[in-house]
């Protein structure tokens, strides 16, 4: 700011358009710097952080049984009322969900269900690519939730990816560590 003002006050800078020259050099320096575009579906993909709140998933314990005890606290605390739990009792007398539906079309991914859960059964994982042309596909049942990917281990980077449209649309990645997207952002 002061630099420009100083130059404008001297007539020689004014006569030779020093401010216009400054502007041109600024845009030129931007032109030769690296673009910040993340070429998402084509060649690059962003990995979520471990605290990222993506698609829900249900956890199993070490014996392979579902952690959920069907207490319905998650359904109670859910601000948009998108969780439906129907409990049943197995032969050992333990409570488990018969139905555990999450309507992801209504869900706002606040993570309150994860906080409310007393049995460490539900959490929000790393998956963020689950758009659909059909809203009924967005209601996800218990068995699907058990197979959803969990929390990310590392993340926060941009990795190489490949777009695959042969069978549905999938973006495949190979690496676990990516480059920091912020490295190309200019800071004054």
């Amino acid at each position: 700011m002061t630099k420009v003002a100083d130059k404008r006050n001297t007539w020689i800078g004014w006569a030779f358009f020093s401010d216009i020259g400054d502007a041109l050099m600024l845009t030129f320096s931007y032109m030769i710097s690296r673009p910040v575009t993340e070429q998402y579906p084509d060649t690059e993909k962003w990995l979520p952080y471990s605290r990222y709140r993506g698609h829900h998933f249900l956890k199993r314990n070490d014996e392979g049984e579902i952690n959920c005890v069907a207490c319905e606290l998650c359904a109670k605390i859910c601000p948009c009322d998108c969780i439906t739990v129907v409990p049943y009792e197995d032969e050992n007398g333990a409570r488990h969900p018969k139905v555990f539906d999450i309507d992801t079309a209504r869900c706002l991914f606040c993570g309150l269900c994860e906080d409310a859960c007393p049995a460490d059964a539900i959490a929000l994982g790393q998956q963020y690519e689950f758009s659909s042309f059909n809203s009924s596909d967005l209601v996800v049942g218990r068995d699907d939730l058990l197979t959803k990917p969990g929390k990310a281990e590392t993340g926060g980077g941009v990795v190489r990816a490949r777009l695959d449209t042969a069978d549905g649309v999938r973006v495949e990645t190979a690496q676990d560590e990516g480059y920091n997207w912020w490295r190309n952002i200019r800071r004054k």
Binding site: T27, Y30, M31, R34, P35, T37
Partner: protein
């Protein structure tokens, strides 16, 4: 037989010229979008072809197949006439422009220009003025507020830049003692005119920016405040005509700047083929046009008129007087 060969040559040259000018907007649109993208730290078109190279082809097909809509209350005749009127003058002007001395093909000496007019400069300035009518008619005939405002701005700015532009080239004509572009280039074989005529170059280039209706003087189409200005109501192929016209004028102003002030096909230091030198210089000025577009904001049209009458006109007159006193 001699006559037939001469006519055939001219027809071939004109054909090549027209084809080149019609196809030139494609790489230029790609270049413009790439430069825009990289200046804004984006990538520009990337998905159609290698680095988006085929994007203008896809856009061209889209424009050709789109509905050619004419508003109900538009003036039908003028509406159809305007894009042609805007596109033809830039094409006509290239008849008078030399791209080099001559090359020998199959033992024949073939000149790299269609005609060597002795009043080429006058012809160019006169004919390119007609292009403005296309813009004004287009804005007026579409019977839309944005169109009329765009046409109005063109009317207002046109006189204020055409006069300094005409005066700016007089210095060059005085140095070369000729209005033929060939003679002007030959006169610069030792020293380029920009050394003797820096003020003339400055005035010509600023007026050329206004002539090509590029930022910072793109008042007629000002997409920020007028929608798309004079071609708001145009669609499909008629819109494409306006685009071709805009890019042809941009190339024309670059070519004229190179011929008048930067020695045409005369090279410096590095010995390259003359036509290559010419193309490099023209490409540089086209780049400068695009660079300016994404650097500067738009002037108001009263500001443009103030620049035209209060700065450019006195500068160009002083340039003529000083050139006359020193050289003649």
């Amino acid at each position: 037989m001699e006559l037939a060969i001469a006519i055939g040559l001219i027809v071939i040259k004109v054909g090549i010229l027209i084809a080149a000018l019609l196809l030139l907007p494609m790489p230029l649109v790609w270049l413009e979008r790439k430069i825009a993208g990289h200046i804004q730290q984006r990538m520009g078109p990337m998905r159609v072809g290698w680095h988006g190279l085929l994007q203008p082809v896809a856009d061209g097909i889209k424009l050709l197949t789109k509905e050619d809509h004419i508003p109900r209350d538009a003036d039908q005749f003028l509406f159809k006439l305007a894009p042609i009127l805007a596109m033809v003058p830039p094409f006509v002007v290239f008849v008078a422009i030399p791209f080099g001395e001559s090359v020998s093909v199959l033992g024949h000496e073939i000149t790299l220009y269609v005609s060597d007019m002795n009043v080429a400069l006058l012809f160019i300035l006169a004919v390119i003025g007609i292009e403005v009518y296309g813009v004004i008619f287009g804005g007026w005939a579409s019977n839309s507020k944005y169109g009329v405002l765009g046409g109005l701005r063109t009317c207002a700015q046109m006189i204020s830049y055409e006069i300094p532009m005409g005066f700016a080239v007089i210095g060059v004509v005085m140095l070369a003692q000729s209005m033929s572009l060939l003679d002007i280039v030959r006169a610069q074989s030792d020293v380029w005119n920009v050394v003797y005529q820096p003020v003339g170059f400055f005035v010509f280039f600023v007026a050329g920016l206004a002539e090509a209706q590029r930022v910072p003087f793109d008042l007629a189409e000002a997409e920020g405040d007028l929608g798309a200005g004079f071609h708001t109501e145009y669609s499909g192929i008629r819109f494409a005509f306006f685009m071709v016209s805009e890019y042809a004028v941009m190339v024309l102003v670059s070519v004229l700047t190179v011929i008048l002030f930067f020695g045409g096909w005369n090279g410096v230091l590095i010995p390259l083929p003359p036509i290559l030198w010419f193309l490099i210089k023209v490409a540089f000025f086209i780049y400068v046009f695009m660079w300016f577009r994404f650097t500067f904001p738009r002037y108001r049209y009263d500001q443009l008129m103030a620049i035209g009458w209060k700065v450019l006109l006195p500068l160009s007159l002083a340039n003529i007087i000083i050139t006359g006193v020193v050289f003649v």
